[in-house]
Each structure stands twice: as C-alpha cells, then as structure tokens.
C-alpha cells in the first residue's frame, strides 16, 4: 500500500478532524484514497472542488483541503455540473451515497452519465441509510435487514449502479471496495484522468447499522464480508463484481458546448 506522506496530507483539512463518521466506517478509507489519487494526479488543492450531497458520504468535502461544496440531498451532481461548466479548469469530484445518488438523486445520476461532463462521481455504497439511522436504500439487497425492513428483510429489488451508469451512457465505470486499498486509489486516479463522466462505485462498510442489523459484525468482519461478496463467484451469490467495466472515449459535454461557443452560436 502506498505510504500516506506529506504530499497526501496536503489534501486533508486537519482543522475539521475528527470526522463525524462512526468508528470503523469505510468513508475515511475513501477520503484517504481520494487524497492519494489527487496527489498522484499532481494537482493542487485550490484547483480541485469536492462536491458532496447529504448523508455520511456527503461530508467528505469537509475533510478535503480542496474547495468544498456541501450541497443538498441528491443534487450534488447538478451543482457540480454548473460548477464544472462555469470553471472548466477545476477538477470536480462528487462524493455521494447510494441513497443520495440512486434514490432521491437517481434522475441526476442517469442524466449526468448521459451528458458525459468531465466530473468524477465516487458513489459510496453501504447498502443502507447511515446518517438517518439504518433505513432501506435502493441498493439494499433482497432479504437484508434495515430499520424499515426489520422483520422479513428488504423485499425490493436492488439497483446495480454499474449497470445503471453503463445503460445511461457513462464513459468510465468501475467498482471497488474499501477492502481493497490497493485498488481503490488506482481506480479513483484513473477516473480522475478520464475525460468525461466517470463513476467509481465503492462498496463500503457501515458496521453501525448494516453490520449490526444483519449480524455481520464490526468493521473487520465487514471488510471480510466485502471480500467475500466481491469474489470471483459474486455473480452467483448475489454479490458485486469489481473492476473497470468501461473506459471509452466519447465527446465530452463541456468540449461540445465550448465548440458551439467558438462557432458563434447555433
């Protein structure tokens, strides 16, 4: 695992520590991986904006030493769209949870994938609503227990964010886990370097709610659960495939708009 040194530190906003996240939460690992990826990109904090939605994931911008835009529930991608188009030189990263991006913000998710604007979405998928206390999410697996599906487990089918993004036309689509701290910063860096809309879905642990309500255990047990749920047989046992599923070049939305500008209008 690459060492977190001074150069990674420069992307972290120390005065905001400690975080609001529970002990054992996976979000700190994602924030660290993002800092590592930004560092490897060779950019400066002032040239980056991290845009968060509402929920545990949406708090990430507070802990990054970059420009931070902590927005409203579900709409971070729409804020980021305006920000990136108004200032194309900024590297724009969105941190959003599965409820934020796939329930209340589901439309913005598919529209952003369709537009192919050069922003990177880190979708923290813990399969549950953490900040509000463990309710069912659109990603909650069938049968999984939440505070709003307590007796029988969830009876709703779950979204697959990767398939959804691919169908909507995203040009970079990847999935990794907080179990794999080798892979995660590599995927995030590749997503940041991709010129177009990039999605990195990160399966992350919520020991406080998902782990407890589903009797998986604390963070170490949950990391092993992530490992098992993303193994080579993931397709057979209802887990998640990981990897980079699409990385292709298509006209980027901002470039298209600017081409139209220089052409003097339609």
């Amino acid at each position: 695992m690459p060492k977190m040194g001074q150069s990674v530190d420069r992307f972290l906003r120390r005065e905001m520590l400690p975080t609001v996240w529970c002990p054992g939460c996976g979000n700190g690992s994602i924030a660290q991986a993002l800092a590592m990826a930004l560092d490897r990109l060779g950019t400066e904090p002032k040239d980056v904006a991290v845009v968060g939605g509402i929920g545990c994931s949406g708090r990430t911008p507070f802990y990054m030493a970059t420009n931070a835009l902590h927005t409203t529930h579900g709409r971070a991608l729409a804020f980021a769209t305006g920000l990136k188009l108004a200032q194309p030189d900024l590297t724009v990263v969105v941190t959003s949870g599965d409820g934020d991006s796939l329930a209340i913000g589901g439309n913005h998710f598919i529209q952003a994938a369709r537009r192919n604007l050069d922003i990177t979405l880190l979708l923290y998928n813990n399969a549950i609503y953490g900040m509000t206390g463990g309710q069912a999410a659109p990603t909650t697996p069938v049968g999984a227990h939440t505070t709003t599906s307590p007796a029988t487990g969830s009876v709703e089918n779950a979204f697959d964010a990767v398939e959804l993004a691919m169908a909507a036309g995203a040009t970079f689509v990847a999935r990794t886990t907080t179990f794999d701290m080798q892979e995660m910063p590599v995927f995030i860096e590749r997503a940041l370097r991709h010129h177009g809309f990039s999605l990195v879905e990160i399966i992350t642990q919520c020991p406080t709610y998902y782990g407890r309500l589903n009797h998986i255990g604390e963070a170490p047990a949950m990391l092993l659960w992530e490992r098992d749920m993303t193994d080579a047989q993931a397709g057979q046992h209802g887990g998640w495939n990981t990897g980079i599923f699409r990385e292709e070049s298509r006209p980027e939305y901002g470039d298209q708009l600017r081409r139209r500008q220089s052409g003097g209008g339609a």
Binding site: K46, G82, L85, A86
Partner: protein, 382 residues
C-alpha cells in the same frame, strides 16, 4: 434609437445579458420558456454557458454551482418549477450565493392555468423556502420593466450576496411592446470584487468564487459562521449573518425607493398594485380622475422587502387604500400589517386566470370601505 416589438420574456433575457449574465440553466415551462430559448440562442454566441437541465431542482442547483464557479448565473421558471426550486433558493440564501431567478407566474396551485396570468407566488417568493432568510423580490408591469428589473436583480444579488427573484406573470411574459433596442456590453466575465486574502468568505464581505488562485473554502448548507465551517452545536453565528443581511437589505435605499406614485398629491383613496395589475389600476385611476374623483396609484417595483416607509407615508395621507392583485389576498396581508390601522386597507383580487379590469378596480376604488369617494373628494355613506 430604433424601437422594436419585444416580448417580456425576451426583455428579461436581454436584461440579464446586459447585467453580464454568462450562465443560464433552466427547464422548459410555460409561460417562461422563451427566456430559456432566448438564452439558448444568445449565450453561446457570447461565450456563455446555456444548459437545459433535467428538472428545476437541477436547474437551480446548476445555477448555484455555476455562481461558485464564478459565473453570473440565472434560471427562469413558472409556478410548479418555482415550487421545486425552493429548497435551493434557501440553500443559495444560507450560502450567500448571488444568483437570479425569474418566475413568470401562472395560475395555480398545482398545474393550474399554465397559459393564464396570476400573482400567486408573491408569498412563496418571500417565504417558500424553509427557515428564515433575507429576500429580494422585484416585479415588472411592462416589457421595459421586465428588462430593467432583471438587470437590476443581478446588481442586487451581487451587492447583497443573495438570490434575487423577479416576478413576471403570463401576460407581461408573453406580451410585446415597442422598446428601444437594448445595447449589450461586450461579452466576457467581469471579476468578482471579493478577496479572501483579507476577508472571511461569508458574512458582509464581497463574494469571491472558487478558483482564480484563491485559497480553498468550505461552502455548506449547514449552519455556519463567517469562516464557512459548519457549526452544528449552535446556530448563533449563522443567525447573525442572516440578520445582518436582512438588515442591510431593509436599509438599502435602492430597494426602499422601489415605488412609483401616480396622482397621489391630493388623492383621498389610493390603489396599491404591481405587475400587470398596476396597468389596470392606472387606467382605473386615470378614468376616475377624468371624472374628477381624487384617487391615485402607488405602483410597487419592489415587493420584498416591502416598501414600508412609502406605504406608511401614503396611509397617513389618504382616507383608504385598495390593494389590487391577481390572487386571493397575498401582499395585502403585510401591507395591512405595515399600515397598522392608520387607514382602512381594502382588497380586490381574483385567481381565475382573468385580469382585473380597470372597471373592476375603479368600482371598488370609488366605493372603498363601504363609502363613496365623491367628485369633491369627500366621503359619504354608500
């Protein structure tokens, strides 16, 4: 100067461009769509960004994001879309983000009367977002005023770092009047005055967006102080910023002078009206004046903050006030509160998609408060 027949919506778009607007995000909705289309035609040619979003929530979000990206940003909508924007108008207020929203009002509630006028968003424009916040709301009763109000909205948004709403209505939005061809400034983005090197990013300090080599900051819809960092333990720092902003807006002389008087010097009764209704009110007053009845009109260009001083000054001079608006009684409520019993305040309104006719207003003006305003200026029981 040549005159050209111009639609109200087109004039609003031109007012925005004249003010330096270089970003528009919107969603089609009658009767505001022509603003979207006009910006879609004109902004790219001026090097600006035009964006049709997936809904009004996203449009308002993109506008706020663009403002933090340094743009002079605007959206335009009508009732149902304006309702959807309320959360983000509140967000813009708390994050002190300068931006402009044009709302071409139509009959409501709900889908209502998409092609017919109303003035039913007056209270929503002030109080539609949850929580307490400063608010600036302008309006227009002619095509020229739609231009002027939208242009002014950008200056006010920048000065007070808050979203500014321009209320049009379906008639002003769609009607055409001859106006002088508008001169536009050369394209390009004027720098924002704010500097973060010497001032905190929030509070009564000029706006400075992300980038441009400035130090990074935190922008959040959580309660925060001047440094922008969330303060969930207590809301005192945020309350102070909001109160300072409300006070500054209340004392802005440009806003306080947002009224226009007609025949008020010797008026015994006065009608208070705004937007399309002010035109009917003016016709009613002129008709009664021609018959020798001493009535006048106070036309409002600024709805919020309510021009209280002008209303109190009026109330101290007349025998009564008639508030005329295309709703079932909205601005009449704060006007009654401001007048505080100095004079009777009557109301005439409708919400069926039809305009108030001059005769309708005139008849009520003549028989205000159960009495008749006579040609001699006295009153007798009706």
């Amino acid at each position: 100067m040549a005159l050209r027949m111009t639609m109200g919506n087109e004039a609003a778009a031109m007012g925005a461009l004249a003010a330096g607007c270089d970003f528009f995000a919107g969603y089609p909705i009658t009767p505001a769509t022509e603003i979207l289309e006009e910006m879609g035609r004109r902004l790219p040619a001026r090097g600006g960004v035009f964006l049709q979003m997936e809904d009004e929530l996203a449009a308002m979000a993109a506008v706020i994001g663009a403002a933090w990206g340094g743009a002079r940003a605007m959206t335009a909508t009508s009732g149902p879309g304006f309702s959807l924007m309320q959360e983000h108008i509140g967000y813009a207020a708390l994050t002190q983000t300068p931006c402009v929203v044009v709302d071409a009002q139509r009959g409501g509630p709900s889908t209502g009367l998409p092609t017919l006028p109303a003035q039913g968003d007056v209270m929503q424009a002030r109080f539609g977002a949850h929580g307490d916040r400063p608010a600036i709301v302008l309006t227009a009763s002619s095509v020229w005023e739609a231009y002027a109000a939208t242009r002014q909205a950008f200056a006010l948004a920048e000065r007070h770092r808050t979203p500014v709403v321009v209320l049009l209505d379906a008639v002003i939005a769609h009607m055409r009047e001859p106006v002088e061809i508008f001169d536009l400034p050369p394209p390009g983005r004027a720098p924002w005055p704010g500097s973060r090197t010497t001032k905190p990013p929030f509070g009564r300090h000029p706006f400075a967006p992300f980038g441009g080599g400035r130090d990074p900051i935190v922008v959040t819809g959580l309660s925060h102080g001047e440094d922008g960092l969330p303060t969930t333990g207590s809301g005192q720092a945020a309350e102070r910023i909001l109160k300072d902003s409300i006070t500054a807006i209340a004392h802005d002389p440009e806003l306080a002078s947002g009224v226009e008087g007609f025949y008020l010097d010797d008026a015994r009764w006065a009608v208070v009206a705004y937007g399309i209704t002010a035109r009917a009110a003016q016709a009613a007053v002129e008709s009664l004046r021609a018959a020798g009845v001493p009535v006048g009109l106070l036309k409002l260009h600024v709805l919020w903050p309510l021009p209280e001083a002008a209303l109190i000054h009026l109330a101290d001079r007349v025998d009564g006030i008639l508030v005329a608006e295309l709703n079932l009684g909205q601005l009449v409520m704060p006007i009654r509160a401001a007048v505080a019993g100095r004079t009777p305040v009557e109301f005439v309104g409708r919400a069926d998609g039809l305009l108030l006719a001059p005769e309708e207003i005139g008849a009520r003006l003549r028989t205000g408060s159960g009495s008749v305003v006579t040609e001699q200026g006295g009153r007798r029981d009706a």
